[in-house]
Amino acid sequence: MKFAIIQFPGSNCDQDCYHALANVFGQPTHYVWHKETSLGDVDCVVVPGGFSYGDYLRTGAIARFSPAMKAVADHAKAGGLVIGICNGFQILCEAHLLPGALIRNRSLKFICEHVELRVETTDSPFTNACKKGQVLRIPIAHGEGCYFAEPEVIEQLKREDRVLVRYVNNPNGSVDNIAGICNEGRNVFGMMPHPERASEKILGSEDGKCIFKSILRSAVTV
C-alpha cells in the first residue's frame, strides 16, 4: 500500500510517521512538499502532526491553503484514504474536510502523556483491525486538542457512528470525550492522539499499530 506524507513548514511528526510506515510496517512511503500540487501515486495520505506555520493565528489555519491540501481534498473526494494526526486533524477541520474545530485545552496548558482511548466502532478503514470497546494506550501531545462542534453536528456524528475513538478520561475538555472522527464517506479520519508514537515496544506501547493495520487491511477489501 502506498503512503504519502504531507510536509508543511513547521511539521515535525512527519519523520515519525515515515518511520512507522516505512520501517515498522515496511510500506512504500514518500513525502509531498506542501508547495506541490500533485500527491503522486498514493492510496493513503497522512497529514502529520507538528506546528505547521508555527500554529500562528490558529492551529492549521494557514496550512490548509497550501497547494498540497487542494490535492488532498481531491484525493478524498475520489474516495482515497486520508488520516490527519494531531495538527493534521486541526488542518482537516480548518479545510472543512472534517466538521468542528480543535480549540485550546481546558487547562490552558500543553499536555504530553499516554492516555487511554476506547474504540467506538470498527466499521471504518482506520479501526477495522481493532475490537469494539478495545482500550488503546496512545500518547497525546497538544495544546489545542479540545474538540468542539455545535450540538447538532455532535448528534449527527453519533447518529452516523462517525466517532471512531473516545478518551476514557477526558484530558482536554473535548465535547463528548471525542478523540477522533471520520467524514460522511468514512474515508477521511482525524485523531488527536499519535499512533505513530505507539508502534514499538521500546517507546512504551504498541497499541497504535492497530490503526495502521486497519488501513493496510482496508486496502485488501477496497
Partner: protein
C-alpha cells in the same frame, strides 16, 4: 558621539582595557568599535575572568572530535562513523526580566549552536533554579510567575520546533530569589564527515546573512548579561529578545540541507550573544582571514538603525554563512524553498581585518584575531568566606532527632525540590522524533537513535548498526557547593555519573554551565576556583572529559550572591537496549540491595533545610575512587541482567530514594519492607 570616561565605564570597559584597545587599533576607537570591544570582551564572550581556571578541566581524549573552546559545541565519537554534539548554556538574566521569552530564546540559542556544527538536533534538556514558590509572600508570588513563565517558554519553543525536551531538574532555594537560573542544553547527532566549522576561508568567498531581519531586540544582551541585575537594570528592559521557533525550524532545515550539499558551504556560525559582531569576528579569526561586510545589505526590521545598533542587536534566528564563490545562487535557491532569504552582505578578505562598512564609509575596522583571542585575562584574588568555616563546624548531631519519623517523609516528599516534576515535563512534548525510550521521571533520559532516518543524511550500509542508545542527565546540588565548593563540585560530577549508571549507561563526556556571583568578590571567586577544582577531579576520576559549556557570572539578587551552581550535563552510552534500567521497583518479592555505606552526613541535606530550616554543616564527603568502583560494579550486574531497577540516593537520602522507587511510575506502584 565622543567617547568620555563615563561612556567607556557604561560599556564595562576598564581604563587599562581601553588603553589596550587603543594599542590594538593604533588610534582612539569610535562608538561602534567601542561597542564591539565591549561585547567581545564581556565575560560572556571572552571568559576573561574564568579562563585561567577553566584550563584545569581535562579536555583531551581519543574520542573527542571537537574540543572545548574550539567551536560552538563539543563533539564526541560514538562509533561506526557517528558522533554526538552537545552543549549547555545559561540565559539567566533575560529570564529574570521576561521569563517566557528569556527561556524561549535560551532554547533557541542553544539549538542553533548544535545545528551550526552540521548536527541534527535530537533532544533538549533544561536545568532550572528558582526561589521558594510556597506561601503567599510577594517574593513567592514572583517566583511562581517566573517558574510558570520559564517552563511555558521552554515548552513553546521546544514543542514548536519539534525537538523533545526529555529531562532536566528544578531546585528551589532562597538564594535564587530575583535571579532564577535557566540552563538550556541541546544534543544532536552527526557523521564525522558532516562536521562544519565556524571559519571564514578563501579570499573573495561570499559572506551570506540568513534568517530573521535585524531589529533592536536585546541590544547589547551579551554585555547586559555581565552586569549585575540591580534595581536600575529595569530600564534595560527593551533589551529582551523575542524568539520565533517557527522561523528557527525553517532555518534548521534549510541550513542542514545547504551544509549536506558538498562544495557549497565553507563555514557557518550562529549569531548568538553579540549577534553580527561575534559571528563576523570569530569566523575571520578561526579562518586566519578577514571579513568585510556592508551594513546597507543587512536585512533590517526597523529603519534608522545606527551601525552600533545593527552590530550589537541580538535579534534571534539568524546565521552567518560563508559559501564557495560562484555557488551563491544554489545556496539562495535552497533558502528560498524554505521561505527564507539568504543575502550576500560581504566577502572574505586576507588582511585579517574585521571591516564593517556602510556603503562606502567604514564604520569599524578591527584586527579580527586580536578582538577574538586577545581579550585581557585576569587572575582574580580569592579568600575563603567565613560562612564556610562557620558552617563546617556545625555539629549535625546537635539537631534533635524527631520522635516520630512517620510525619517526616511526607514533608520531604512534598518539598518542591524533591516532589515529582510531572507538572513541568507534562508541558514539554518529550516524545516527538520517536526516540524517547525512557520518559522523564527516572534517573536519566534514554534516547533510541534510529540511524536509518533520512534526515541524518546517511544510509547505514549492510552490517553497520541501525540503532544507537544514549542516556543523558544534568545534576548539581547548589547547597553542597555553598557549604563546601570543592566537595560540591566533585559530587555534581559523581551524581551525574551515578544517574547514568543506574540507567545502564557508561559515562562518556561532560558539558557544564557554571553559574556564580560577582567574580570581583574574592569570596565568590574562591567558590568558583574550588568548584572548578572539584569538577576537574570528578571528571578525571570517571574518565569523562569536558567538551565545552558556559560560564555565567554576576548572578546576584539585591540581597546576596546565588549558591554556587556548576551544573553538570553528562552523556552516557548504552551498548545494548537490554541494559536500559529505570528507577522504579518492578515486582513484589524482588530483593533490595544498598550499595555504599551510610555516614553521619546530614550537612546541607534537604532534611535539615526542610524540617529544621538549617542550611549548614559539612556536606557528604565524596570518595571518587569508591564511587567509580561502585559504578563499575552496578554496570556489570546490569549487563548480567540481574538488575530489575536501580536508583541513586540524592536529595532526601535513603528514605526518599526508597519512596521514589515505589511510586515514581504511576502504572506500577509497589511497596517495600526494609530492615
Amino acid at each position: 558621539m565622543n567617547i568620555t570616561p563615563e561612556v567607556i565605564a557604561k560599556h564595562g570597559i576598564t581604563p587599562d582595557e581601553y588603553e589596550r584597545i587603543k594599542q590594538i587599533l593604533g588610534r582612539e576607537p569610535n562608538i561602534t568599535e567601542l561597542g564591539i570591544f565591549s561585547v567581545m570582551w564581556s565575560e560572556h564572550c571572552s571568559y576573561k575572568n574564568s579562563k585561567p581556571e577553566l584550563k584545569k578541566f581535562p579536555r583531551e581524549a581519543d574520542f573527542i572530535l571537537v574540543k572545548a573552546g574550539e567551536e560552538n559545541a563539543g563533539i564526541v565519537d560514538v562509533g561506526d562513523g557517528w558522533a554526538i554534539a552537545f552543549k549547555i548554556e545559561s540565559h539567566n538574566h533575560p529570564s529574570a526580566v521576561e521569563p517566557f521569552q528569556g527561556a524561549a530564546t535560551g532554547m533557541g540559542g542553544i539549538i542553533r549552536d548544535i545545528f551550526t556544527m552540521g548536527s541534527r538536533p535530537l533532544m533538549g534538556f533544561d536545568s532550572l533554579r528558582f526561589g521558594p514558590i510556597e506561601g503567599d509572600s510577594a517574593q513567592a508570588a514572583t517566583n511562581r510567575r517566573l517558574f510558570a513563565g520559564v517552563v511555558a517558554g521552554i515548552a513553546h519553543y521546544g514543542n514548536c520546533i519539534g525537538i523533545p525536551t526529555v529531562g532536566g531538574e528544578v531546585y528551589f532555594d532562597e538564594s535564587y530569589n530575583g535571579n532564577p537560573l535557566v540552563n538550556a542544553l541541546c544534543l544532536g547527532i552527526i557523521r564525522h564527515d558532516q562536521i562544519k566549522r565556524g571559519c571564514a576561508k578563501g579570499v573573495g568567498n561570499p559572506v551570506i546573512y540568513v534568517g530573521s531581519a535585524t531589529g533592536k531586540d536585546g541590544l547589547a544582551g551579551a554585555a547586559f548579561a555581565s552586569r549585575e541585575l540591580t534595581e536600575e537594570s529595569h530600564e534595560d528592559r527593551p533589551a529582551v529578545q523575542v524568539g520565533d521557533p517557527f522561523m528557527e525550524k525553517l532555518l534548521l532545515e534549510a541550513c542542514l540541507e545547504v551544509m549536506r550539499k558538498n562544495g557549497l558551504v565553507v563555514g557557518i556560525q550562529d549569531m548568538g550573544a553579540a549577534g553580527l559582531t561575534c559571528s563576523t569576528c570569530e569566523t575571520a579569526s578561526r579562518g586566519g582571514s578577514g571579513n568585510e561586510i556592508d551594513l546597507n545589505l543587512v536585512p533590517k526590521r526597523e529603519t534608522g538603525m545606527t551601525p552600533y545598533e545593527i552590530m550589537l542587536s541580538e535579534s534571534q534566528e539568524r546565521m552567518l554563512l560563508i559559501a564557495n564563490k560562484g555557488r551563491e545562487k544554489e545556496v539562495e535557491e535552497i533558502f528560498r524553498k524554505w521561505d527564507l532569504h539568504g543575502v550576500t552582505i560581504g566577502k572574505v578578505t586576507n588582511d585579517g581585518m574585521m571591516r564593517i562598512k556602510v556603503g562606502k564609509e567604514i564604520a569599524a575596522e578591527i584586527p579580527a584575531a586580536k578582538l577574538a583571542d586577545d581579550a585581557p585575562v585576569y587572575h582574580r584574588s580569592v579568600e575563603q568566606p567565613e560562612w564556610e568555616i562557620r558552617n563546617s563546624k556545625f555539629e549535625t548531631r546537635s539537631v534533635r532527632e524527631p520522635r516520630n519519623c512517620q510525619t517526616i517523609l511526607p514533608k520531604l516528599l512534598a518539598s518542591p525540590t524533591i516532589a515529582s516534576k510531572n507538572w513541568v515535563y507534562r508541558q514539554y512534548d518529550h516524545m516527538v522524533q520517536d526516540g524517547t525510550a525512557v520518559v522523564p521521571g527516572s534517573d536519566a533520559a534514554v534516547i533510541r537513535i534510529n540511524l536509518k532516518r533520512p534526515d541524518f543524511g546517511y544510509t547505514p550500509k549492510k552490517g553497520e548498526p541501525t540503532e544507537k542508545y544514549i542516556a543523558f542527565t544534568t545534576d548539581c546540588n547548589g547547597a553542597y557547593c555553598y557549604l563546601d565548593p570543592y566537595e560540591g563540585g566533585k559530587t555534581a560530577v559523581a551524581e551525574a555519573a551515578r544517574n547514568l549508571v543506574c540507567s545502564g549507561a557508561r559515562p562518556l563526556a561532560v558539558t557544564d554551565c557554571l553559574n556564580f556571583g560577582n567574580p570581583m568578590d574574592p569570596h565568590i571567586f574562591w567558590q568558583f576556583r574550588r568548584c572548578v577544582d572539584g569538577l576537574s577531579e570528578g571528571c578525571r576520576a570517571f574518565g569523562t572529559p569536558v567538551t565545552g559549556g558556559n560560564v555565567s557570572f554576576y548572578n546576584e539578587s539585591p540581597v546576596a550572591a546565588i549558591d554556587p551552581t556548576p551544573t553538570v550535563g553528562m552523556l552516557g552510552l548504552i551498548d545494548d537496549p537490554k541494559h536500559i534500567t529505570t528507577q522504579w521497583f518492578k515486582e513484589s518479592g524482588h530483593v533490595i540491595l544498598l550499595l555504599g555505606d551510610i555516614g553521619d552526613e546530614l550537612g546541607g541535606s534537604e532534611y535539615l533545610k526542610r524540617i529544621h530550616g538549617l542550611k549548614t554543616g559539612k556536606p557528604p564527603r565524596m570518595d571518587l575512587a569508591v564511587a567509580k568502583r561502585t559504578h563499575d560494579f552496578v554496570l556489570e550486574i546490569i549487563k548480567k541482567r540481574w538488575v530489575a531497577s536501580a536508583h541513586d540516593c540524592s536529595e532526601g537520602g535513603l528514605a526518599v530514594a526508597l519512596a521514589e522507587s515505589c511510586v515514581s511510575n504511576g502504572d506500577c506502584m509497589v511497596g517495600a519492607r526494609v530492615n
